[in-house]
Symmetry: D2
Subunit: 161 residues, 4 copies
């Protein structure tokens, strides 16, 4: 059994056609797992639905605590890309001994041309095959939480050293 | 560096609007890697573009040989789901010592509601994280080549024993 | 009030993921009208769901009769493109005095890159703005039923003379 | 020959994946006409690419002047929905004697679930079948420019009286 914690991010943003703005309504995760014909037992839990630029230390503490308290040893977290690395650090400090994989998207799943489905397939796979630790799965690969940064100019995750 | 061998299958089928039939034109793999913002170095090679129900023993021998002769130790193969297990067996016999992951799709990528992008993200991830062996990556998980079958009634891959 | 008669055709074909074939399940018309945010009162009726190459004279007679018996004076018909002109002729003979617009698609709506939504918007508009007569609405324009043919080589409708 | 004047609006908005915002890049009109297999001769001209809430009186005067100076008697204008009616009024005053049809979208074409393709099919059809005048084509129907308003609560265009 894999637990998937949903925290928001571009992944789950939608278009509000009356206001002409992006917003959060509900997660697309179940629909994406259905589209991917995923048959791995998954327990999905929406912890919050926020833009990761607005995420507070209290939010990160809550995510880490949710990881620690989850009965599952394998956890995927959908998260905004901008502060994904900060949350990964909070989890590494607060929820040791589990395989935790954070992922997200550069384009909302609802917008058709999203990397979200690819990244979800990647995260679901890494969480089953990597040893305990906290990882980021983006751009088709995985990074250790303490050796990765998002390059804001290119939108790509890269090794720090 | 990962080598991706393209062999056809539902994954790459398109709609011929003049004949009203499904057919193979060219692989969608590069477009899918671009959509997934995959940054892993990938060398893609179209070995054939066939429906796996029409694949012959000679075709499978050729795929196994291509695996054996590839300089890369990590190989993803896109393949029709109907005889994916048979090809996996041929590779296991003919190309030992490499991590080979076969994947495919139940719905063509070109048709919008495909599981192809999810499966590709999964296969690209498993091939980087699993030890040498031949695997099938479908439905969000991975199977050893000698312990899996496609259930033709449900379209789902499952463990044999 | 506009009546929409659904008869099948590429428009409504889907992909059977277990058999790997195209087939008819149910019409996508209500979903398409919702996507187009159509607010014109529409009464949709599935007369049949067939490939127009398989349509018989009895089928065409039934469609013409349904047009004649419909209380609405404005009727859109979704139809396979291959024999759309033959059915238009049957309606012209059998259901005079109404504005009837036949339309269809070269690619199934379910396959993402379809012309179906464009054609539906076109047909719904022509049926409200043209005088009584039988027309084909394809490729962004409208044709009189007795001055049009489908060019099988290009997939495009064109004036006969 | 139909002239299509492009002015921006939701129709043509895209998602900037680095900034996480909506923006204008280039029009999707040629791609949409290709997808719709439109064979009507069309001359497309990008007059501006702006959110219609930011459109000035000078902008509207420029659009009306472009209509007046166009050699074509039939003109489609893609436009943001919020002030489409104001621009229609400016054209009615400034470019008499032509058939001008304004259309737009509630959801960007680039976001997959857009009404844009349906509306474009509708506008292209009305402009060929309606007598001279200025019209708005939205929600599957057409409105005279001086008898329509956008209901901001529902996002739907409706008759004023």
């Amino acid at each position: 059994m894999i637990r998937v914690l949903i925290t928001g991010g571009t992944f789950d943003k939608e278009y509000d056609e009356l206001k002409g703005q992006l917003y959060f309504n509900a997660t697309h995760l179940p629909e994406m797992l259905r589209l991917g014909r995923c048959r791995v037992p998954v327990e999905a839990e929406t912890v919050m639905l926020v833009d990761s630029l607005h995420m507070t230390d209290a939010d990160r503490a809550r995510i880490a605590e949710t990881c620690r308290n989850s009965p599952e040893a394998r956890i995927v977290i959908t998260h905004g890309t901008d502060t994904m690395v900060e949350t990964a650090a909070a989890i590494a400090a607060g929820a040791p001994g589990k395989t935790v994989v954070l992922t997200g998207a550069m384009v909302p799943y609802a917008f058709g041309s999203s990397d979200g489905l690819f990244n979800l397939g990647s995260a679901i796979s890494y969480v089953q095959s990597l040893p305990p630790g906290v990882y980021i799965a983006m751009n088709g690969t995985h990074f250790d939480w303490d050796n990765v940064r998002k390059n804001r100019d290119t939108g790509v995750f890269e090794i720090v050293r």
